[in-house]
């Protein structure tokens, strides 16, 4: 199949929840989109496809707002963060099939009224989810705490491991100007933070922020004529398997999947498609809405054996000088939370060689979507 590449990246500044006002969500999207197109050396009228993750905006309004002459492809990844990296899969499919020549991928959030942290409580009651209400589970972090505790019980994972994920993200964020939480964190400070959903403390929850990012995907052939160093989409996937289902909305995963982050299926597909192994990955951008899920994704993606994610991170493996640097931009925990889009941006910067915390000679980066209901998603990018 013909190759595709990310040729442009655009982002607004990142804002703490509510502070992006008085800009509107569409204004943020417009700014990111125009910046991405400019970065790609293209004009907005060159865009003829659109792919995004569903968060309350529509392609029609963006076409009107930016004067895009026509769309020949328009699609949305459904669900709750699990499909965030899947926008690259949609874009690659559109370009490979000839449906569109240049696809604009968009992710954005503005959480002023609609806090994702209380997303379960904010949803209209449905008959199949009433047990969450009778149990008092109001947010994804509270529900995923059940997976984290079970992981600790089965594998002996310690809170120190979750703390290390947070501390590593802070250490990276310290040098990243865009990051919103840049103060270094000690283990004592981590352990002293109030518990919100035991075993998760406040610092295990990601930031609540506003922002928009956009990416331009086109053919590898065309990419070679554009100004930026192409970042090739070596593999992309969105989907999932029955045993993961709706994940924290379901909470009836079998033992084999309950203590995972639901990414094994995506991992198998990505590595097969790219023809490489986990050891070939130079930097991992793992969706870190909650720190324990990073530990579990490291296992899902084969960076360490099942159950050994805790000792793996506690060994220092995910730091700058470790065997697998994870989220060198500070991730959702310390940089900003824009539903996985900041992870795609960091992968592109790493592979262009322009990252703030540059991994020397980074050639392969993996990006994961959120451990959340199907579709799960991910991508392997290469320089």
């Amino acid at each position: 199949m013909s190759e595709t590449a990310i040729v442009g990246v655009g982002a607004t500044p990142y804002y703490f929840r509510g502070q992006s006002r008085p800009q509107t969500l569409f204004e943020l999207i417009g700014k990111a989109s125009l910046a991405a197109v400019a970065d790609a050396g293209l004009d907005i009228t060159d865009i003829d496809g659109m792919a995004f993750y569903a968060t309350g905006f529509e392609p029609g309004a963006i076409v009107e707002m930016l004067g895009i002459p026509e769309l020949n492809f328009s699609s949305v990844v459904s669900s709750f963060g699990g499909g965030s990296a899947g926008i690259l899969d949609l874009a690659a499919m559109a370009v490979q099939s000839g449906r569109a020549k240049a696809v604009l991928c968009i992710g954005a959030c503005q959480q002023a009224e609609n806090r994702y942290g209380a997303a379960l409580a904010g949803m209209a009651p449905t008959p199949d989810g009433e047990w969450r209400r009778t149990a008092d589970l109001r947010g994804p972090g509270e529900a995923l705490a059940l997976l984290a505790r079970r992981h600790m019980h089965v594998y002996g994972t310690r809170r120190e491991a979750f703390g290390e994920v947070v501390m590593a993200s802070r250490a990276y964020a310290a040098t990243r100007p865009e990051a919103l939480r840049r103060k270094p964190l000690s283990l004592d400070e981590y352990m002293a933070a109030p518990m919100l959903a035991d075993p998760l403390c406040r610092l295990d929850f990601c930031l609540e922020t506003d922002g928009a990012l956009a990416f331009v995907v086109t053919s590898a052939e065309r990419a070679r004529d554009l100004p930026q160093k192409p970042v090739y989409i070596a593999a992309s996937a969105h989907g999932g398997e029955r045993e993961w289902g709706r994940s924290f909305f379901w909470l009836n995963m079998p033992d084999s999947h309950f203590t995972t982050a639901g990414g094994e299926h995506t991992a198998r597909r990505l590595f097969a498609q790219a023809g490489i192994a986990p050891a070939d990955i130079d930097v991992a951008l793992l969706y870190d809405h909650f720190s324990p899920l990073v530990v579990m994704q490291l296992e899902d993606y084969g960076f360490c054996p099942r159950g050994e994610g805790g000792p793996f991170v506690e060994s220092g493996a995910i730091r700058m000088d470790g065997s697998l640097p994870v989220n060198p931009h500070g991730g959702h925990l310390s940089e900003a939370y824009v539903i996985g889009m900041t992870h795609i941006r960091e992968a592109v910067e790493q592979l262009r060689g322009t990252a703030v915390n540059q991994i020397p000679d980074a050639r392969h980066a993996i990006v994961s979507g959120g451990p959340a209901p199907i579709p799960m998603s991910g991508a392997i990018l290469r320089s």
């Binding site: 009651p125 149990a135 008092d136 059940l146 035991d198 075993p199």
Partner: protein
């Protein structure tokens, strides 16, 4: 911090029901815990829904799931119910019913000493009143 768990106020929650979940709540209202099992192949499914995912039969039997044990739980710190009161500890708990195909049922663990809550601990079923039905809650056995 309090030393025991508290069940949040369920009295104003009106449980939404459909064709496939109503039998669960109708039994609950009579203080009977039942779970759906396929009438053709015996497969347990959760939540209650229109098809057996194994054989696609719509025949459903509602059966007593037997004894359950804690599969996982979390402890949530909730604001005090009254101004100036102590924060409350709410304990959403997943209980596994080994004799019902490993069905995992989510509910509140009521009035349990926090220090005594542990995975694999056996539980008994209790009942709380929601706006339109009684609902199952758990107690440490």
């Amino acid at each position: 911090m309090p030393s025991r768990s508290t069940t949040h106020d369920l009295s104003r929650i009106a449980i939404a029901m459909d064709t496939w979940t109503r039998p669960f709540w109708e039994a609950a209202d009579r203080e009977r815990l039942v779970v759906p099992r396929c009438g053709r192949c015996g497969h347990y499914r959760w939540p209650p829904g229109p098809f057996c995912p194994q054989c696609h039969s719509q025949e459903t039997e509602w059966v007593d799931p037997g004894r359950g044990r804690i599969y996982s739980f979390t402890v949530l710190s909730r604001p005090p119910a009254t101004e100036g009161g102590e924060p409350e500890l709410s304990v959403p708990t997943l209980v596994r019913f080994a004799d019902a195909g490993g069905t995992l049922l989510l509910g509140s663990l009521a009035d349990a000493p926090i220090a005594a809550i542990a995975i694999d601990a056996p539980v008994t079923i209790g009942w709380a009143q929601a706006a339109n039905t009684r609902v199952p809650i758990f107690h440490l056995a």
